[in-house]
C-alpha cells in the first residue's frame, strides 16, 4: 500500500521535476541535461515577446480577478438566504458557467462578440472613430465570468456557515445594515473573498483554452508557451514553465492558508 502511494507520488512529480531540472541545463537540448546554468532563465526574462505576453497575462488576470471578486461577492451576499425563482435562475447560471467546457465557452464568446462587433462597429466608427475588437477586454470578460462563478460558490459557502445571531445582535445594538456588514459580516468572509481572488487570478493566469479564442491579436503567456511548443521544445520554455509553476504554486499556497483560516473561524 505504502509502495503504491509512493509510486503514484513519483508519477505525479517526475514530469514536473524533469522540466525544472532541464531548465537549468547549460546546453541547447531541451531533453537532456548538459551542465548547470541559469542562462535560459536570463534568456526568457530578456525575451521581449515573453515579457509582453507575461505583462498581458498579469494585467488580464488582475483585472478579471478584481471584477470577478467584487461582482461575485455581491451576488453571493444577495443569494444567501434567498428563495424563489431568482435564486433558482442564478444557481442554474453558476452551474452552467462551471459545467460547460471551457472550449465551448471560448468559441461561443468568440462568435458572439465578433458578430456583435460587426453589427456595432460601422456606427461606432463613424461616431467616434474608434471600434470594438477582441483583446484585453474580451479576455477579462470571459475569464471573469468563469471565476465570478467560483467566487460565488466560495463566498456563499462561507456565508452559510455564519452565525445569524451575530448579525441580529449587531442590529439590536443599533448598527445600520451597512455598519453591520462592514464590522461583522465582512471581516468573517474576508478570507473566503481573498481566496476567491487568488483562485480567480491563478485560473486566468493559467488559462489557455478560453484565451486562445478570445485574445484577438493579444498573446498571453500560455498562448506564447503553446505556440512555442508547436515550434519545438527548448530549454527556454522549460525555464518559463518552471517560473510559471512556481508562481502559481505560491498564489495557491496563500489561497489555501486563507481558506483554512476562514474554516478555522467558522468552527470557532
Amino acid at each position: 500500500m505504502r509502495l503504491y502511494a509512493l509510486a503514484v507520488y513519483a508519477f505525479l512529480y517526475l514530469p514536473i521535476a524533469i522540466i525544472a531540472l532541464f531548465s537549468f541545463s547549460a546546453g541547447r537540448s531541451a531533453s537532456q541535461m548538459q551542465g548547470f546554468s541559469l542562462q535560459w532563465y536570463g534568456r526568457a526574462l530578456n525575451n521581449p515577446f515573453v515579457m509582453e505576453a507575461l505583462w498581458t497575462s498579469v494585467r488580464v488576470a488582475f483585472l478579471s480577478a478584481v471584477l470577478a471578486t467584487i461582482v461575485g461577492t455581491m451576488a453571493a451576499l444577495a443569494l444567501t438566504g434567498m428563495r424563489g425563482r431568482m435564486r433558482r435562475v442564478f444557481d442554474l447560471l453558476v452551474q452552467i458557467a462551471v459545467m460547460i467546457p471551457g472550449i465551448v465557452i471560448g468559441i461561443a464568446t468568440l462568435i458572439a462578440l465578433v458578430s456583435v462587433f460587426d453589427l456595432v462597429n460601422p456606427w461606432l466608427e463613424v461616431a467616434t472613430g474608434w471600434k470594438l475588437q477582441l483583446g484585453i477586454g474580451s479576455l477579462i470578460g470571459a475569464h471573469g465570468l468563469f471565476t465570478m462563478s467560483l467566487v460565488v460558490l466560495l463566498v456563499r459557502g462561507r456565508m452559510e456557515t455564519l452565525d445569524p445571531a451575530l448579525i441580529e445582535a449587531s442590529g439590536d445594538l443599533g448598527a445600520t445594515p451597512m455598519g453591520t456588514f462592514r464590522q461583522v459580516t465582512l471581516p468573517q468572509i474576508l478570507p473566503a473573498i481573498l481566496a476567491g481572488f487568488l483562485l480567480a487570478f491563478t485560473f486566468s493566469f493559467d488559462d489557455f483554452i478560453i484565451a486562445f479564442f478570445v485574445a484577438g491579436a493579444e498573446t498571453t503567456l500560455p498562448i506564447y508557451v503553446f505556440s512555442s511548443i508547436r515550434r519545438g521544445v527548448t530549454p527556454e520554455i522549460n525555464a518559463i514553465g518552471t517560473m510559471v509553476m512556481a508562481a502559481s504554486l505560491l498564489m495557491l499556497i496563500v489561497a489555501q492558508l486563507l481558506l483554512r483560516r476562514s474554516q478555522a473561524q467558522a468552527r470557532r
Partner: protein, 283 residues
C-alpha cells in the same frame, strides 16, 4: 421590500455579465448551428439542419472523445481509489494533510506545462530508451492514444482522489469494527461496507473528470500529435482554421447535449446511491 431591492441591486452586475457573456454566446452558438457557412468563411444566416446532418464527418473526433473520456475516467478511478483509501484509512493524522496537499499541488499548476513534460518522458529519449535496454526496441509511445491516456490520467488524477478521500474519510469506522466483531473477513467488509459507502465520492470524482475530458483539447493537441483528435480539437480546427462557424456550432451543440445527457444519468445514479447510503445508516 427594501431587502428585495438591495438583493436585486447586488445581483444586477452578475446578471448582466451572465446575460452578455454566457447566455448570449450560448444562444448565438445554437442559432449559428442552424445556419450556413458563408462563402468567405464565418456564418451566413439561414435555417437548415444540414450542419447536424454533417456531424458524421467528425465521427472520429466524437469516437475518440467518447472512448478516451470514459476510459480515462476509469483509469484515473482505478489509480486514484487505492491512493484515496491509503490517505483516508492508513495514514496517520500527522502526515495526512501534507500528503493530501501533495496530491493537489500538481493539479494547480499549468496543465499546459505538465502535459508538455510528457513529451520528454514518452519521447525517444525517455521511456522508449529505457524499454530499448530491456530489449523492447522501437516502441512508439508519443503521438498515440496511449500517450493521450497517460496525459489524461496525469492531468486529472487529483480531481478523482479528492472526492473519494472525502467520502472514505466520512465513513463511520464503527461499521467496520462491527463487521469484524461479527466475523466478516476484511475483504468482504471492504466490498460490502467501504466500497458502497464511498460510491458518492467515486461518482462525484468520475463526473468531474468526465466533464473536463469531454471538452479536452490541450492533451490530445500536445501528446496526440494530430492523430488522436478529440471533439475539442475538431472545434479549434473548425473555428480557427477552416472558419466554418455554422458546422462548428453544430459540433459544439452536439458536444454539450451529449454531456448534459451523461451528467443527467450520473445525477440519477448519485441520487440512487445517496438513498442506499441512508439504508445502511438505518441498519
Amino acid at each position: 421590500m427594501t431587502q428585495t431591492r438591495a438583493r436585486a441591486l447586488l445581483l444586477t452586475p452578475a446578471g448582466l455579465w451572465y446575460a452578455a457573456l454566457l447566455l448570449l454566446p450560448l444562444a448565438v452558438v445554437l442559432i449559428f448551428s442552424f445556419g450556413e457557412r458563408s462563402a468567405i468563411g464565418g456564418y451566413a444566416p439561414g435555417f437548415t439542419l444540414e450542419q447536424y446532418a454533417n456531424l458524421p464527418a467528425r465521427f472520429a473526433a466524437f469516437r475518440n472523445t467518447l472512448t478516451l473520456a470514459p476510459v480515462g475516467t476509469l483509469a484515473s478511478l482505478l489509480i486514484a481509489y487505492p491512493l484515496a483509501y491509503f490517505l483516508a484509512v492508513k495514514v496517520s493524522p500527522k502526515w495526512k494533510t501534507m500528503l493530501l496537499v501533495l496530491v493537489i499541488v500538481p493539479f494547480w499548476t499549468s496543465i499546459l506545462i505538465r502535459s508538455y513534460a510528457w513529451i520528454f518522458l514518452l519521447g525517444g529519449k525517455g521511456i522508449p530508451a529505457l524499454l530499448d535496454v530491456i530489449g523492447l526496441a522501437d516502441v512508439r509511445l508519443l503521438n498515440t492514444p496511449f500517450a493521450v491516456l497517460v496525459g489524461i490520467v496525469y492531468g486529472y488524477l487529483p480531481l478523482m482522489v479528492f472526492p473519494i478521500y472525502v467520502a472514505l474519510e466520512k465513513l463511520d469506522k464503527r461499521l467496520l469494527e462491527a463487521a469484524a466483531d461479527l466475523g466478516t473477513p476484511p475483504w468482504r467488509a471492504f466490498l460490502q461496507i467501504t466500497l458502497p459507502l464511498s460510491m458518492p465520492g467515486v461518482l462525484t470524482g468520475s463526473m468531474l473528470v468526465f466533464i473536463l475530458l469531454m471538452g479536452e483539447f490541450l492533451i490530445p493537441a500536445i501528446l496526440g500529435g494530430g492523430k488522436v483528435f478529440f471533439v475539442g480539437n475538431a472545434l479549434v480546427d473548425l473555428f480557427l482554421q477552416s472558419r466554418n462557424w455554422a458546422f462548428g456550432s453544430a459540433v459544439a451543440v452536439a458536444l454539450v447535449v451529449i454531456m448534459l445527457i451523461t451528467v443527467g444519468i450520473y445525477t440519477r445514479l448519485v441520487k440512487r446511491f445517496g438513498a442506499s447510503r441512508d439504508d445502511v445508516g438505518l441498519m
